[in-house]
């Protein structure tokens, strides 16, 4: 059992008021709030430790380097990567996917090759692939979903062929909450020799992820959606595959030697980490992971599931409201539309009541087209949310609907 009161006290922002009402923050899918423990690490770093890493001979640089490399190991353990150098620090999920798309395409993509994604991908897992497909004459194939928002596995199997070079699928849909059967997807892709990338941005904050068990080639996620700061993210890749790929960006830290005639590249992970990284971001991400580990990721998962079940039951009683995304396996995301109203109108009104939800297309425009809605209103819960907050949200929702319809 979680001690929610104690947990909430760790998140100073949860005590503030918005428009004269206590904040109810249900936009965790966009970004999570940060506990004091993470904020303190950021503060401490800039106050006492700030220094550039990897190249300095002095004490501060040594300390910062140690903290940064220790953070890498924290991430490694968190996702159970085999080696610490399989953990590449990036700017975020989008940065990670662009890195893979660029380096992978250079090495592996030829005219007529195919990349498979799904209908429920976030723009970050669509556009980079569209860009490389255009550059290399490859083709993007899209796995359809059913009306509940579930990945159609049989249709996916039909799309697989000897032309398939890579399968890139989200672990959890940011818009629908659908948890995809990524282990089975990876297995099928592997069987025909395709590479796999899993977008775990919406998965790692909510459930245990084990990259060795999944056996994916790449796994990507962001720090800010899991209690960490913005501007830092992770690319996990299998050692042999990362070694085989060309570097993404050139610059400092990613080189072994440079002459004007020829440059040789550094080893993993530095080969993919050009320039001064987001040092404090990496260190604070490790603090966020420590925080989550202390609570226990399985406890988080179980509690958030309770919140989702509670909210779903309550919201279903509202007339004219339709839940968008009713997959059997769901993370704590509740997307909906209400007959005769626009999601943004609902969002604006309940904002005045202190409730923060997301409205719009959630950067999944093709998915909105597939579901034939202009957008949805989305409440996404974190483990620091409560059923009392859900009650406030439901009351606000009813009031908004009354005003609008």
């Amino acid at each position: 059992m979680l001690n929610i009161k104690k947990i909430r006290a760790d998140f100073p922002i949860l005590a503030r008021e918005v428009n004269g009402k206590p904040l109810v923050y249900f936009d965790n899918g966009a970004t999570s709030q940060k506990p004091q423990q993470v904020i303190d690490v950021i503060d401490k770093y800039y106050t006492f430790q700030n220094s550039n890493i990897h190249r300095g001979i002095h004490t501060l640089s040594q300390e910062a380097t140690d903290a940064y490399e220790k953070a890498r190991i924290t991430v490694q353990n968190f996702i159970n990567a085999k080696h610490e150098h399989e953990v590449i620090f990036t700017s975020g999920t989008t940065g990670s996917i662009n890195l893979v798309a660029s380096s992978f395409a250079k090495k592996h993509l030829n005219k007529g090759d195919e990349i498979i994604i799904s209908t429920m991908e976030h723009h970050s897992n669509i556009v980079p692939w569209q860009m490389v497909c255009e550059d290399y004459g490859a083709i993007l194939k899209v796995v359809p979903i059913n009306d509940k928002g579930e990945f159609l596995f049989e249709e996916f199997e039909k799309l697989l062929s000897d032309k398939t070079k890579l399968v890139a699928v989200t672990h959890v849909s940011n818009t629908l909450g659908t948890i995809n059967p990524v282990k089975e997807i990876i297995k099928k892709a592997k069987a025909i020799g395709a590479f796999t990338l899993i977008d775990g941005a919406q998965a790692v904050p909510h459930k245990k992820v084990d990259v060795q068990e999944l056996d994916c080639d790449f796994y990507v996620f962001s720090g800010h959606k899991m209690l960490g700061p913005t501007g830092v993210g992770i690319l996990y890749g299998k050692e042999a595959i990362l070694n085989s790929l060309p570097p993404y960006q050139g610059g400092g830290d990613m080189i072994k030697t440079v002459t004007f005639e020829k440059t040789t590249y550094n080893e993993l992970p530095h080969k993919f980490e050009a320039g001064t990284p987001n040092i404090v971001g990496g260190i604070a991400l490790a603090a966020a992971i420590d925080y989550m580990n202390n609570i226990g990721i399985h406890n988080i998962e179980a509690y958030e599931h309770e919140l989702l079940t509670y909210a779903t039951e309550k919201i279903k009683q509202i007339e004219g409201l339709r839940i968008i995304g009713e997959a059997k396996q769901k993370a704590s995301v509740l997307s909906f539309v209400v007959d005769g109203t626009h999601p943004s109108d609902i969002g604006m009104i309940i904002d005045k009541l202190g409730v923060a939800i997301r409205t719009g297309h959630h950067c999944t425009e093709p998915l909105m087209n597939r579901l034939n809605v202009p957008g949805t209103a989305r409440a996404s819960f974190a483990f620091y949310n409560t059923t009392e907050e859900i009650d406030i949200f439901i009351e606000g929702l009813k009031r908004a609907i009354k005003m609008l319809v």
């Binding site: 009104i349 409205t359 719009g360 957008g375 005003m403 609008l404």
Partner: protein, 139 residues
């Protein structure tokens, strides 16, 4: 009335409402009441697309004055558009180009013109100015 005077009139109107809820209810009514664009003008060309809602804006010159018509799929946005049309429509390109938009801020709905809303309203204001400059150049 000048663009400035109409805006002042609207500010006075909204001063009657103390609560945000009454303001919103008034805006929602304005949005509901006003069929503001002909279907044939709801084209891709006239569409201003934002993350939150869609806004259509049409402009034509009539007797030296620009007539704006518009619509949105979101009702609060539509209500604000109704006010915007009351302010800007039926004025000369020169008057529009030289005008300041202040009433949205003063009636306490400034957040609706914030880029973070990305709701097409800000783009609509830009588009109104662009039309006025374009029509001015033609005249």
């Amino acid at each position: 009335m000048t663009i400035k005077e109409i805006q002042e009139e609207i500010v006075d109107e909204f001063a009657l409402f103390d609560e945000w809820m009454d303001k919103y209810e008034h805006i929602i009514e304005l949005g509901k009441d006003l069929p503001i664009i002909e279907e044939k003008y709801k084209t891709e060309d006239n569409l201003i697309k934002g993350c939150q809602s869609r806004v259509w804006l049409h402009a034509e010159l009539n007797d030296g004055k620009i007539i704006f018509t518009a619509d949105s799929d979101a009702i609060i946005t539509k209500g604000i558009i109704a006010l915007m049309i009351r302010v800007f429509s039926n004025h000369t390109p020169k008057e529009i180009a030289e005008s300041d938009l202040f009433f949205i801020d003063q009636i306490g709905l400034k957040e609706h013109l914030s880029p973070t809303r990305s709701n097409g309203l800000l783009s609509m204001v830009k588009q109104i100015k662009i039309y006025s400059i374009a029509f001015q150049a033609k005249a």
